[in-house]
Amino acid sequence: MKIMVCIKQVPAKDSTLRLTEDSTWIREQDLSYEINEPDAYALEEALRLKEKHGGEVVVCSVGPDRVQQVIREALAKGADRAIHLVADGGSRLDSYPAARLMAEAVRREGFDLICTGLQSDDLGFAQTGVVLAELLGLPHATIIMEVQAEDGRLKVKRELEGGWFQWVQMPLPALLTIQSGINKLRYATLKGIKQAKSKEIRRVIATELGLKAEELAGRQKLHRVYVPVKTKQTEFIDGSPKEAAAKLVEKLQRDARVL
């Protein structure tokens, strides 16, 4: 099975976030980065499928040079080769241009399966995988909890709301967006880390893919980001103890949503 995994580099979870002067993004120079969490599970799932069915795992990442960090990590964990789509401001691309770039770069590769994370930890659109599937004309399924591949077909378990699941059968080639926590992530072994050095990373310059600028332009604009202001409000509930208790429960359920 020839599998591609799309991985995004996102600000590390323990970063201290500070805003840029114009308050339209976070200050990138203070950040350290890591692999987007659901993408790590997508990679793990792909590596397991390869171990079971043979084939190849190729990782693809869009972004500036620093995304080589997550590419190397994926190679160290066992991916066979990588495609780096060099694009400045890659982390701030909307889902559409990011998917568009990847579609152009990998169209001729003929992957049997493409796995992406369910969504990114930074922008959280949950659209890149779905758009990519559309652009490549592939069937897709989202929020995947389990993957079984047999006789050129897939059987996948999707997470629905309220503790419900759905099993779906689909043909290959296909695209899946993978949910976090569905498998146990492996460590990069030191041997793997050493071998990663000699694995191929194909650099594709975004601007050389022959796409028009307007096709890559964001469809949306961030006007302002801000740190939520913590406020403290005190509210007195009156009435008899019994009434007050009932009102309190209602408030905790409806307004505070902690019950």
Binding site: R72, T189, L190, A196
Partner: protein, 626 residues
């Protein structure tokens, strides 16, 4: 920036040569590969070891060996084993990185080190082809766990006085070993013992002893103050039958094995101390941020900030030292050819070259850890004295590091001793440097050097102060001169009997250690500053730190300043001890005057510096320069 090593830097050379920032390795030079290794080691600790520390602390049977094997699967036991014997064969920077992460739990670090360093390296360095093929692949995976058996009840520091005997059987097929080894880390579950014994009671030698050989047994677990999760037992050899081919190295050359292994062990231990100290600082900073008293968090108090800043600053210096040392050893290691039979020898030589630096790192970093662990307890207050809080264990676990792998005393004696030996054999131009300092007439009044410093023009001083870290460069030059001054005076007085003057020798070592520490801190700061493009800044640096650099660089610059200025006070004190212990009367007065001129400096506001440093530690809740 590439690391540009000028050919080979001689061991101990830091004392007499000047280095440029780009010549030292620093954590800012980590490659992507190094970062990935750090990540693997960190995750392994976080997911597998730390959640089980209480079971390990109780020495739950089989747990540590299992975790070691798991580490082995990831390649974390075999960084120093060549690939052809199943190892991962990586550089010293990589092993330093791993050790720092493993130090988050000292007992596990001790087990890991006893196995993968002092237990395994004797075979890597001194084993013959058969021995390497037989044992290394299984040591790499952790299938076999090793221990290093040198100490005995009556022979610790004085290791050459061991009583364990080995006698060759009449048919020459095996040795019979008799004796008892004490304090052996990993003894409870080790499969392989590297045992030192004297052949015929005279010739110091080394043997590979399998647990299953007849006549090998271990005693009960020792009841220790700290690192309680590591196994420490006696190893009892009663007519233990060891095949003749398990002699490691040559008969009568066992001390070469013993001492060379300790060089690596010391370096590694230093890295462990810095990792442990970072962990303690993180606990302390986290606690200071949440503990409230008098309506504030205690982190808001000046005296707590002072502690946090001082802890961070010393850790920073130690970190600079260990990675600089790794960076010294690695280029020499890179020249060793793994497939050649001389590989072990080449690697050993590379490490022996920097034995002085390894000893310095060991003493200095173990004392940093003790200081940091002690202040950690203090910041926790009463809760620091309770077993349910991490400060208590950190405090107990820290203590061993000043004792094993050569006590602080023994290493202090070694540092000056080895430097003098290197000087005598012509490998280090110490004598010329000292003579240069005195310009041929040591006792005749003030040295030319001191005069020239005094006479430096105002203009010269101004430009120096204006350039980044100019004053601090001057301090490093001054501490080097101080070291040469006191070494020269002491040597002139005591010559070859200097070793008998232990207090003086140790005081000289103290100053030598500061040279290495202060210069390492300065060079790293210089490298970082250059990278953020401020070196050419013509403006004097405001006390609040340069405005143009990123937060981390500003933090490092502040720590470097604080460190250099405050250590200089200590250097002066130690120098006075040496001078007053070596000479008297007019000669003493003259040399004290020289010392005063060499070390003359302006006072800096260390209170402001510490507050500035603490602010970042408090904000990050941890060591914030790594």
């Amino acid at each position: 920036m590439e690391i540009a090593f000028k050919t080979q830097i001689p061991g101990g050379g830091f004392l007499i040569e000047e280095r440029l920032p780009e010549e030292v390795f620093t954590p800012e030079d980590f490659t992507e590969q190094h970062r990935l290794i750090a990540e693997t080691a960190e995750q392994f600790m976080r997911n597998e070891v730390l959640p089980r520390w209480e079971q390990i602390e109780r020495q739950e049977p089989g747990l540590t060996p299992r975790l070691l094997r798991q580490a082995g699967e990831l390649g974390l036991l075999s960084i120093d084993i060549p690939e052809r014997y199943g190892g991962t064969e990586m550089d010293k920077v990589s092993s330093t990185i791993v050790v720092e992460r493993f130090a988050q739990y000292a007992s596990f670090l001790a087990s890991h080190g006893a196995h993968s360093v002092i237990g395994t390296l004797p075979i890597v360095f001194f084993g013959n082809e058969e021995q390497k093929k037989k044992y290394l692949p299984r040591l790499a995976t952790g299938e076999l766990i090793a221990a290093y058996c040198l100490s005995e009840a009556e022979a610790g520091s004085d290791a050459l006085s061991i009583r364990t005997r080995a006698v060759l059987s009449p048919d020459g097929k095996h040795y019979l070993l008799n004796g008892e080894k004490m304090w052996i880390t990993n003894a409870g579950f080790a499969d392989l013992f590297i045992v030192f014994a004297k052949v015929d009671g005279e010739k110091f030698s080394c043997f590979i002893v399998e647990k299953g050989f007849p006549g090998v047994a271990t005693g009960a677990e020792e009841k220790k103050l700290g690192i309680k999760g590591s196994s420490t037992r006696t190893v009892i050899l009663e007519d233990a039958r060891v095949p003749a081919e398990n002699l490691l190295g040559e008969v009568g050359r066992g001390h070469v094995v013993a001492f060379n292994i300790l060089n690596v062990g010391r370096f590694r231990l230093a890295a462990g101390c810095i990792g442990g100290a970072k962990q303690a600082l993180q606990h302390a900073a986290g606690y200071a941020n949440q503990r409230r008293a008098f309506g504030k968090t205690i982190a808001q108090f000046g005296l707590i900030q002072e502690k946090l800043a001082e802890m961070a600053t010393r850790i920073y210096a130690g970190e600079c030292m260990i990675y600089r040392t790794a960076g010294l050893i690695d280029p020499l290691l890179a020249e060793a050819i793994p497939d050649s039979p001389a590989y072990g020898e080449q690697v050993r030589k590379a490490i022996e070259e920097y034995a002085v630096e390894c000893s310095i790192d060991k003493v200095y970093c173990s004392e940093i850890l003790d200081y940091v662990a002690d202040e950690c307890v203090q910041i926790y207050g009463g809760y620091g004295y309770h077993q349910d809080y991490p400060a208590e264990r950190a405090y107990r676990d820290a203590r061993i590091n000043r004792i094993f792998e050569g006590t602080s005393e023994i290493n202090r004696l070694l540092i000056t001793g080895m430097l003098l030996k290197r000087a005598a054999s012509g490998r280090l131009g110490l004598r010329a440097a000292i003579e240069g300092l005195f310009q041929g007439s040591p006792a005749s009044g003030r040295s030319t050097e001191a005069r020239s410093m005094e006479e430096r023009s105002t203009e010269e001083r101004n430009t120096e102060a204006a350039s980044l870290l100019g004053t601090e460069k001057h301090l490093v030059a001054a501490v080097k001169k101080t070291a040469l001054l006191v070494a020269g005076v002491a040597y002139q007085k005591f010559a070859d009997s200097l070793a008998d003057q232990q207090e003086i020798t140790a005081a000289i070592s103290d100053i030598v250690m500061e040279v290495f520490a202060m210069e390492s801190a300065l060079l790293r700061a210089g490298k970082m500053a250059a990278r953020s493009g401020v070196q050419s800044s013509p403006q004097p640096i405001p006390d609040s730190g340069p405005q143009t650099v990123d937060d981390k660089t500003a933090h490092v610059l502040a720590m470097t300043r604080l460190f250099l200025h405050s250590r200089m006070d200590w250097v002066e004190q130690r120098a006075r001890t040496v001078l007053a212990g070596a000479i008297t009367g007019d000669a003493l007065r003259r040399q004290l005057a020289t010392l005063q001129q060499v070390t003359r400096r302006e006072a800096v506001d260390t209170i402001a510096l510490r507050r500035q440093i603490a602010a970042r530690i408090i904000q990050k809740g941890k060591y914030a320069a790594g």
